[in-house]
């Protein structure tokens, strides 16, 4: 029996990795700071810097060092380099950064774009019901998640229908789930998409990228645990939950689905889990306490 080699030499103590202690401000640096800040601001800044533990700041935000998409060189990203960077446009650095050929538009008053009547009617009804303009409805991200046939056995024989489940979201806090059933798959999918857009509801997100705290929920036979994750983590979840996060606008999440993994029920349970988040404002109001986002206030969102 060979003894396994000891790992003690390989694992270094995390506290040993701290950078050398920063020198206190020199008198000239202090004078410069005094010229920029008021005495109260300066005393607050110095007290804040003294209060933050170096271990917390350097080691616990360790993941920043292994950032795969981070630049390998120091760069001042606040200034625009004339050679390397895309030139800014009036619209910003969006899609206009890529040179596009100017396609002339047709200014014919008699030219009308014909729309499929059924779809148009449905969209108009939806716009009236939800209060969202047609343009916004068309921009919604919809996805067909599940589609399979279901059979009802009667004395006449088997009645076969198609069941569809779709989700709709605006990528910025709205998400809805809809189901449709019909003899034709087209109709079922359309119904499901329509219901999904109709059932859209706002879902609270922490910093617009993840959920508030860890959530554990059980619905039917599906037991689901959702974990809030730091920025840049990504959505590391199963495919259905991933798609829903894309439509909703969640960028950092972890999920664990134990017990049943039936796709239809997982989708419904995920919606329930998102709804059952405990918001800090509600907790604070209920307990009569003041709440502070330590991450934002003390660490400036860097931990």
């Amino acid at each position: 029996m060979r003894r396994r080699p000891s790992l003690r030499g390989l694992i270094t103590h995390p506290r040993g990795k701290l950078s050398p202690r920063a020198e206190p401000y020199s008198p000239s640096e202090l004078a410069e700071l005094r010229s920029q800040f008021s005495p109260q601001q300066l005393s607050a800044l110095l007290a804040g810097e003294k209060a933050i533990d170096r271990f917390d700041f350097e080691v616990k935000s360790e993941r920043r060092r292994g950032d795969p998409f981070g630049l390998n060189y120091l760069d001042d990203l606040s200034t625009i380099d004339p050679i390397i960077d895309f030139p800014p446009t009036s619209a910003g650095f969006g899609k206009d950064s890529i040179a596009r050929q100017n396609v002339p538009s047709i200014h014919d008053p008699e030219l009308k774009y014909l729309e499929d009547d059924e779809e148009g009617d449905v969209f108009r009804k939806l716009s009236h019901r939800t209060g969202m303009p047609l343009k916004e409805l068309k921009k919604l991200r919809t996805r067909l998640m599940i589609s399979h046939s279901v059979t009802n056995q009667t004395r006449m024989g088997k009645i076969r229908k198609i069941y569809a489940l779709a989700i709709a979201g605006n990528g910025n806090g709205l998400l809805g789930v809809g189901e449709g059933k019909s003899a034709e798959s087209e109709d079922a999918i359309r119904q499901a998409t329509y219901m999904a857009m109709r059932n859209m509801e706002p879902i609270p997100r922490y910093e617009g990228r993840t959920i508030y705290g860890d959530v554990e929920v059980k619905q039917g036979a599906v037991e689901m645990k959702l974990f809030t994750r730091p920025p840049g983590f990504g959505v590391r979840c199963s495919s259905h939950i991933f798609e829903m996060c894309r439509c909703l606008g969640i960028q950092d999440l972890s999920a664990r689905v134990t017990r049943s993994r039936n796709p239809m029920n997982v989708i419904k349970t995920f919606m329930k889990a998102l709804r059952s988040q405990k918001l800090p404002e509600v907790i604070a109001r209920g307990r009569g306490k003041k709440f502070v986002d330590v991450r934002k206030v003390y660490y400036g969102g860097s931990v």
């Binding site: 616990k60 508030y212 705290g213 860890d214 405990k278 604070a284 307990r287």
Partner: protein, 112 residues
């Protein structure tokens, strides 16, 4: 009127005494007097940490990890809005109070 601790055993004895006519009424209350409105106790949002089968004590380093939401020594980290109570030499303290005073103790229960 007199006070007794609230425990299942004691409560059932008191109800028995009431049945037999020794006591006229049994109500829940506090040291200040009986409760005016009935407030039911709930254990839905509370759970034990240190159990009779496995007692858990923790020092200041571990408590700091827990308060920041990290798992430490098989004790889950605190979620936003969750609290943890520990029994210390200075009495029962909330975890953040104990960290301020730099003392550890037995982790009694958590509430959310």
């Amino acid at each position: 009127m007199s006070l007794v601790n609230l425990a299942h055993l004691i409560l059932s004895i008191m109800l028995g005494l009431q049945d037999q006519g020794f006591i006229s009424s049994v109500t829940r209350g506090s040291i200040n007097g009986p409760d005016k409105e009935f407030v039911p106790t709930t254990q839905e949002n509370m759970s034990l940490v240190s159990k009779p089968t496995q007692r858990i004590w923790m020092g200041i380093e571990g408590l700091e990890e827990i308060v920041q939401g990290r798992l430490h020594a098989y004790v889950e980290g605190l979620q936003p809005g969750e609290t943890l109570f520990l029994g210390t030499d200075k009495g029962v303290l909330e975890v953040r109070e104990a960290i301020k005073r730099k003392i550890g103790g037995q982790l009694l229960c958590r509430a959310s």
